[in-house]
Amino acid sequence: MTQLWDFSGGIHPAENKHQSTARPIRVAALPERLTLPLQQHIGEPATTLVKVGDRVLKGEKIADVTNGLGVPVHSPTSGIIESIAQLPVPHPSGMTDWCITLRPDGEDQWVELQPVADYRSLERNQVLDMIRDAGIAGLGGAGFPTDIKLRPPRDRMVATLILNGAECEPYITADDMTMRERAEEVLAGFKVMAWLLRPERCVIGIEDNKPEAIGALRAATEGTQIELAVVPTKYPSGGEKQLIQILTGMEVPSGGIPADIGVMCQNIGTAVAISQLIFEGKPLISRTITITGEAVREPGNFEALIGTPVQHLLEQADLEPDQVNRLVMGGPMMGYTLTTTAVPVVKTSNCVIAATTSELPAPPPEQACIRCGMCAEACPMELLPQQLFWYSKAAEFEKAEHLNLFDCIECGACSYVCPSSIPLVQYYRYAKGEIRVQRAEQLKADRARERFEARQERLEREQQEKELRRKERAKAAAEAQAKKKAEAEKAAAEGEAVDERSAKSALVQQALARKKAKTEAAATAKEPAAAPHTTPKEPAVEKPDLEALEKQLTQAQAKLETMQGMLEDAKAQQADNVDKLERAVAKNHDRVNRAQKALTEAREQLARNTETQTPD
């Protein structure tokens, strides 16, 4: 007997599973059209490999992902590509997305299939590549590419490989019926995964409300080392984190993945898909889906081609159109409502509930939270849902995050038990969305600030360099002047030999000159108009206009700075006028240089003039 642990919280909603287990899995009839979304799971959308009008065979790759995370899309049957257009896809927002529409030709003609005789003779990487090439993504919920999941990061050893057959959501029986009818295939696929990962322990977790499936699996696992762990029925024991806790007693670290604690969880449907790939060579082109709810007369499970419109399946289950009130994709706890039946079955679609008004009634109006704490009792993640609700409602996101808002798995147990009918999960989704938006904006603002600061720094640096250059020039000029002065002094010193007489005559000369200057000054005072005639020999017209040149230089520099700033911004935004701006900057650079040169020359000239003017 496998040791089991319990997880805290959890609820026991009405199961509603018997409706869809009365009939065996039916193969859905070929619809008139198949709609294949290019993005069916987490990751990048695939790129089309076909064009409108092409004829494709069943199992032919029609779209692939070459860059980033993702898996290819295959044609579910043979037919003609009718269009590649934006069509409604299954999504909580009711959005449209790029889809390939295929019109089946009814021949259902396969491409050549290449099953593997003995996968053990292959390299592990070859098998992983095959899994990717077959378009296999997790068939449980998020649809993570299976090959990537099967390559645990950082070479972490997977000690425990878990096959998740808990299927705890009410109504859904796709995994249950698959285990009942295809236990061998489930096991075969599981063994391939076990061969890839070489875990120490292989365990299938299954809730005790599926006795037939348990029986089938027990027979299939007979004589193998695979454990069959029957776990108590409690929602959400099929949640990955909860099942890991039940089966191993360990917790996945917050923000981490199961591989961090040496565990991996795979879905029943994924195992079947791998089995079909290895032993039959078939890519993932169909899946089992539960069609149930009180508005269909013949609920049950269908083997449906990917791309089959939900409307087609509902018709096969004998829908009463006037009875449907709510159409839920997924289970009643975590599923989302559909706006149209035109959406197709994708790789992650496990259930459609066509519910009547009495079956899933509209919730009563929201009342005030009385902090009764029933939500905290039900929370499987041991959060404080009511506190998170208060903070989310009051937009105190920091506090909500502090109370581990992002650990919420949105299982809906809190909303389910809330006596005040508060849509708690909706508040958490809102808060998470707001926090993500704020983070993105913060990142953007940070980048802008960094850019701005870098620019400021650059401008400052340039200013400093300019200042430095100016100082150097001033220093050089001062040195030159000092040298000249020294030379002059030297010359003066050499002239010490001048005799007294000549000195006297010089004194007389000087006195005469002074007298002359005096009279001249008196004359100038009398007739100011005659002033120009007293100016030194060097004419003023030859004196360069320093002020104008300086102004010119400053202007040129300012313009250059503006242009450089514009260029920076353009570069950051990757605008298309970068070249033009670069040329402009270069031009302005020349202008600045020219202006600088002109100014320097002017200064030198001025300096020369001043020197000549200065009486020694």
């Binding site: 923000g255 404080l384 809330c418």
Partner: protein, 350 residues
């Protein structure tokens, strides 16, 4: 075809707030029955009167606040507040005393703070504390004496007259202080045996009170069984009171014994019906344990060394003050985390 658009989960378990409150009312009925049996019609009349005043004042203030009256009255929370006050007020409390208590509970303690779910203090206990401080004589001398009731119980009409006329002299022969009060004031000069020879103690712990407390205990256990309340607050409440009583009052000639603390006064009503008011109590399991234990300890302190006899109301209100603080420091450890994140964001708490 237009389909209903709804956020998950689509399934719900329908036990509304009004149903929860209805269960609380039902669970309190054994206690009310015991009170009526041992103390006469007083509490029953009080309960009816208090519920009527509670609904009327709730309706009036909802109208003032422009809120849908029927929608909020239907949640039964006002009725529960009225019921709890009716159960805890003295049997012969004059009608205006109980009326003031209910009105201040509903209007001041509940609606002025924003209505259901927003009140930081237990409304019933705010009302109780207010009239206790304002009208100490009416609140402490109007308790019925079970001993006299057995000899010749006042009829329904007499009781109604006593409550309606507010002539306290009329009921002088029937009224008295509670056994706890009696014990506290007499034990200073008398021995335990002398004190308990007073007729109000009867043969057991405290005549009548022990049965009333047992009935509330039964109703409380029912609430736990129905998962309407969790065990944390009542258990830590009683444990806090019990441990204090054993630690300090092991000598019955000095302090009231454990049995009296547990089975006299409003202990069980307080532990299962009043302290567990979810709106004003702590939220996490650990927080509830601290909150309940705090009330139990405070009850012992107030009963033993305080000057007011009604410890439950003050203890609950004092711990209501501490709830935000307790809540900050007692969040549970979330799945996948090493430690609980205590305190407020922005501060490193290890």
């Amino acid at each position: 075809m237009a389909f209903a658009q709804q956020s998950s989960p689509h399934a719900r378990r329908a036990r509304s707030t009004s149903q929860v409150m209805l269960w609380v009312i039902l669970a309190a009925l054994p206690g009310l029955l015991a009170q009526t049996l041992f103390f006469g019609w007083g509490n029953l009349i009080n309960v009816v009167w208090c519920i009527a005043v509670a609904l009327a004042s709730e309706a009036a203030i909802l109208k003032l606040r422009n809120k849908p009256i029927a929608f909020f009255l239907k949640d039964n929370t006002a009725a529960v507040t009225g019921l709890l006050l009716g159960l805890s007020l003295p049997q012969f409390a004059p009608w205006w005393v109980s009326g003031i208590a209910v009105i201040s509970a509903i209007v001041m303690a509940k609606q002025l703070f924003g209505g259901l779910g927003s009140n930081p203090f237990n409304p019933a206990m705010v009302g109780y504390a207010l009239v206790l401080i304002s009208f100490p004589v009416a609140m402490t001398t109007n308790w019925a004496d079970p001993a006299l009731l057995w000899q010749g119980a006042p009829s329904f009409i007499d009781t109604l007259q006593a409550i309606a006329s507010a002539q306290q002299t009329v009921v002088d022969g029937w009224t008295m202080a509670t056994p706890l009060d009696e014990y506290k004031h007499k034990i200073g000069s008398l021995t335990a045996a002398e004190v308990t020879s007073h007729p109000s103690f009867g043969d057991g712990v405290a005549r009548g009170w022990e049965w009333v407390n047992a009935a509330f205990l039964a109703g409380g256990l029912m609430l736990i069984g129905l998962r309407i309340i969790t065990w944390h607050i009542p258990v830590s409440f009683l444990a806090g009171l019990g441990i204090m009583s054993l630690a300090f009052g092991s000598n019955a000639d000095q302090y009231a014994p454990l049995s009296l603390h547990l089975l006299a006064g409003g202990t069980m009503l307080g532990a299962f019906f009043i302290a567990t008011d979810p709106v004003s109590a702590a939220t996490s399991h650990q927080g509830k344990l601290i909150y309940g234990a705090g009330i139990g300890v405070l009850i012992y302190l107030i009963r033993t060394w305080g000057s007011y006899p009604d410890a439950v109301a003050f203890s609950v209100l004092l711990m209501n003050f501490a709830v935000p603080f307790i809540d900050h420091y007692t969040p549970p450890r979330t799945y996948g985390h090493h430690k609980a994140r205590r305190g407020v964001p922005g501060r490193t708490q290890g």
